[in-house]
């Protein structure tokens, strides 16, 4: 056990960016690693760590990983715009924001993720995608897969099986992409449909596409086979042994500082707070007693917090003091159902104990919370 981790430390420390950069005795130009974890945050954190700490001048890296159900949005995207957050919460599907650009994807164990690490100069997405297509064709020559100029891989000229994103730093870069082998398409399509109306933002929008699993084309395919085929092709192109090294992204000795990175990726400030400024302009249709009230709501949300809040209620529907308390409470608070619930229920404690008032309040607040 100790010997193995020591060996890992040695090869890893040798490719770390030190001024006297040495390289391990293998003369290969590449290294293939695979994560033993299915936690999306751990995997994104280790991807980040490798990008920050490793030197790819002498040795490029291919990182293979899979995640348990999660929705991953791009760096500059708006989660409210991209997915059904209510459904995610109900189904306990994680939400993560990655550091690369691009659109929103759904991950589960039937989807594989590939990250190609290179120096900034050697950043070349087309080459990587062509490598994948070559590997697929070597495995199953009858597969009709090709790379588009939008860096997608299409099956049968119409179904998307892979999406791409990239991150460029000062001296290194990575290009990662997904590959749909056997993912749950039903969950995929339902979570990637946003129910939130009236959103206006400059966040990067996703381009929806019809997707298909490679498994549907050829049921004998498994994720293991695909990973193996791609690793083989990568190794062949670099004249190296296609041995896949397993890594544990929770190992702090191997990746010092990784637990902080993992924690940061899970914070509300990163996942929701990094959403570019957006506004909501919508109408609440509240059924109250025998009528339906149309209530215009306008909100500005910056850094995931409500900056401005306007609710157009009929006059005297709520005591004015209480209405202004509500707006004051919401302003500056997270655009988050949990926090809003805590705030509005607290406000009820300090207002007159009137059943009619309470039911109006609850109705309004429930509707407001639905927007989040």
């Amino acid at each position: 056990m100790v010997l193995q981790s020591l060996k890992n430390c040695l090869w890893l420390s040798c490719v770390l960016r030190t001024p006297k950069a040495c390289f391990w005795s293998t003369t290969s130009g590449g290294l293939i690693i695979q994560s033993v974890s299915n936690d999306v945050y751990q995997n994104l954190a280790v991807e980040d760590w490798i990008h920050d700490h490793m030197d790819f001048e002498k040795q490029q890296v291919l990182f293979l990983w899979r995640n348990s159900p999660a929705v991953v949005i791009g760096r500059h995207q708006n989660p409210w715009q991209e997915c059904n957050l209510r459904l995610l919460r109900q189904k306990n599907i994680k939400l993560a924001r990655r550091r690369s650009g691009g659109g929103t994807v759904y991950h589960d164990l039937g989807n594989i993720n590939l990250t190609f690490f290179t120096t900034r100069k050697k950043y070349e997405r087309m080459e990587n995608l062509k490598l994948i297509v070559k590997a697929l064709k070597a495995l199953r020559p009858q597969l009709d897969v090709h790379v588009t100029d939008r860096y997608d891989i299409l099956l049968d000229r119409q179904y998307k099986v892979s999406g791409t994103a990239a991150k460029l730093g000062r001296t290194s870069a990575y290009h990662h992409c997904t590959l749909l082998c056997n993912a749950d398409k039903f969950v995929l399509s339902s979570v990637l449909k946003s129910p939130y109306k009236g959103l206006r933002s400059n966040a990067t929008p996703s381009v929806p596409a019809s997707v298909k699993n490679l498994f549907e084309e050829d049921p004998s395919l498994t994720t293991e086979m695909l990973l193996d085929a791609i690793a083989k092709e990568y190794a062949m192109q670099r004249q190296m042994d296609h041995h896949i090294n397993l890594i544990n992204p929770a190992d702090e000795t191997l990746f010092p500082g990784i637990s902080n990175k993992t924690k940061e990726l899970q914070t509300w400030e990163w996942v929701y707070g990094k959403t570019p400024k957006f506004s909501i302009s919508t109408c609440l249709n509240m059924a109250y007693k025998d009528s339906v009230l149309d209530v215009r709501v306008n909100m500005d949300v910056k850094h995931g917090r409500i900056e401005v809040c306007n609710i157009d209620l009929p006059e005297q529907w709520l005591p004015p003091g209480l209405y202004s308390e509500l707006v004051k409470s919401l302003t500056g608070s997270k655009f988050c159902p949990n926090e809003t619930t805590a705030l509005v229920t607290t406000l009820l404690r300090v207002c007159p104990q009137d059943d009619e008032l309470h039911s109006r309040w609850s109705l309004l607040c429930e509707n407001m919370i639905m927007l989040m």
């Binding site: 030190t18 691009g102 991150k167």
Partner: protein
């Protein structure tokens, strides 16, 4: 050009420094190695336009998505300046220079062009313009310390200029406390460190100081140097502390607490505490736990505490009441909606179990399980958090014996339960036995509740729990 400009500024005094570099001169474009000390806040630095460099793949334009700095900020070489996006690629642009940001050429969501200026940076006058390529410095002494130092995996951040200064003075970067961003070591930090060594610039602190271990003198390299400073053995040295106060607005759960507790302040509280012998209840729960598990429910002590409280409230309904704002009317609530204080990641929330008066102990356990899992997932609804009439807080699960709980308006009473301790007690025969003792601390609104009522309620609640069989008589 830079040199000429500096010469003409009379506000800067030239000090022929001792720190003449013996380094690879090609590292700097200018041959002059004079180090200048700024004596005034205004610096006559050169403004350089930092252009957006080539992204690769023939890309000519990108969208600016986030600025990490603003005009007036100081930046060091390699600090992140902004994030731009181009066609699914997110690019972090880092600074090539040390200096101060003077102008941002784009706003968020603007299109930026490769080759055109991105920001204007005022370069620190002493440093000159850094070369186009990243420079790998070859120090004359092969001190491992002065390159990327790894101390237990922690990198010491400092610009090449700062490292040079440290090296010239034989200062280990690991000994210096960085006050810059990410604990980066700045030139000022090195100078402060030096000053403390010689005692020259800064007077010793008048406060009582901890005498440091003699370790410090041993770490100074013994190798003789021309510019050896006479480092006196320090008797006391102020511990360098670079922490800064942090102010942030009160929002979210904290805001909710502020509102609730401020309102609670209006209520005149009185306290009443007692000790409960839970020996029999502990045994009973042990017997019932596996039965509950078979039904898929975790059974704690709380369902018993809650049910006993409800039975007590049937006898003393004033404890389940509410006083209106003007203290004119008391409303006796029919439902016993007993709140349970819950500690979540975000803070304190108090969901309540509805209508305990018609629930069995098992029903309460089921409901508690539901509220607990929703609470930890941050998914409690408004109906779970409103309508409470009486509250219990089981602070004992974390620790403590006696407490002084605060009543949550519009309620009039609250109980805090301490931890269960095994203590020696005397039984009826005068023998010492092992008892499971828990303390309870009640608070009540003294405007409508008197001490006697609280005491009698507490005694009744206590008797149900000390002799659980008696609950059977009164269960509805």
């Amino acid at each position: 050009v830079c040199f000429h400009r500096v010469r003409s500024c009379s506000s800067i005094r030239f000090i022929k420094s001792k720190y003449v570099c013996v380094f690879d001169k090609s590292a700097l474009k200018f041959s002059h190695q004079q180090r200048l000390f700024r004596t005034s806040a205004v610096s006559c630095g050169q403004i350089v336009q930092f252009k957006l460099s080539d992204i690769g793949e023939g890309i000519t334009e990108v969208t600016v998505k986030e600025w990490y700095i603003k005009e007036g900020d100081s930046v060091s070489q390699f600090d992140s300046i902004c994030e731009v996006q181009s066609d699914k690629a997110s690019v972090t642009i880092t600074s090539r220079y040390d200096g101060v940001i003077r102008k941002l050429h784009y706003s968020i969501d603007d299109i930026a062009f490769v080759g055109k200026p991105l920001v204007d940076i005022e370069i620190d006058a002493s440093k000159g313009v850094a070369p186009e390529e990243d420079v790998v410095e070859t120090p004359p002494m092969s001190h491992e310390e002065h390159t990327h130092q790894e101390i237990k995996g922690h990198k010491t951040l400092a610009t090449p200029a700062v490292r040079r200064l440290a090296m010239e003075n034989n200062i280990k970067l690991s000994e210096v406390v960085g006050t810059g961003k990410d604990n980066r070591i700045l030139k000022e930090d090195i100078l402060n460190y030096l000053a403390k060594q010689t005692g020259a610039i800064l007077p010793p602190s008048p406060k009582a100081e901890i005498v440091p271990p003699p370790r410090k003198t041993e770490t100074v390299p013994a190798a003789p140097k021309d510019k050896a400073h006479k480092i006196p053995i320090p008797v006391s040295r102020p511990i360098a502390f670079s922490g800064k106060d942090k102010t942030e607005p009160v929002t979210g759960f904290q805001k909710a607490m502020v509102k609730t507790m401020s309102a609670a302040l209006k209520i005149p509280h009185f306290g009443y505490c007692d000790e409960i012998d839970l020996t029999q209840l502990v045994q009973l729960r042990e017997e019932l736990k596996p039965l509950a598990e078979l039904r898929g429910v975790k059974l704690s002590f709380m369902p018993f505490f809650i049910k006993a409280a409800s039975l007590g409230l049937l006898q003393y309904p004033i404890l389940n009441a509410s006083l209106d704002e003007n203290c004119q009317n008391v409303t006796y609530k029919a439902s016993h909606n007993i709140g349970v204080a819950m500690d979540t990641e975000q803070g304190l929330i108090v969901p309540n179990v509805k209508n305990v008066q018609v629930c069995s102990v098992f029903d309460i356990a089921v409901e508690l399980n539901r509220l607990q899992s929703l609470g930890s997932a941050g998914q409690l609804g408004t109906s779970d958090l409103t309508g409470g009439t009486f509250t219990l807080s089981n602070i004992g699960t974390i620790g403590g014996t006696y407490a002084k709980p605060v009543i949550l308006p519009p309620e009039v009473a609250i109980g805090a339960l301490g931890k269960i301790q095994v203590l020696p007690r005397f039984n009826g025969k005068g023998e010492v036995f092992k008892a499971q003792i828990m303390n309870v601390s009640w608070s009540a609104d003294h405007r409508i509740i008197d001490g006697a009522t609280m005491a009698r309620f507490s005694n009744l609640w206590k008797s149900y729990l000390e002799n659980p069989a008696s609950m059977l008589l009164d269960l509805k």
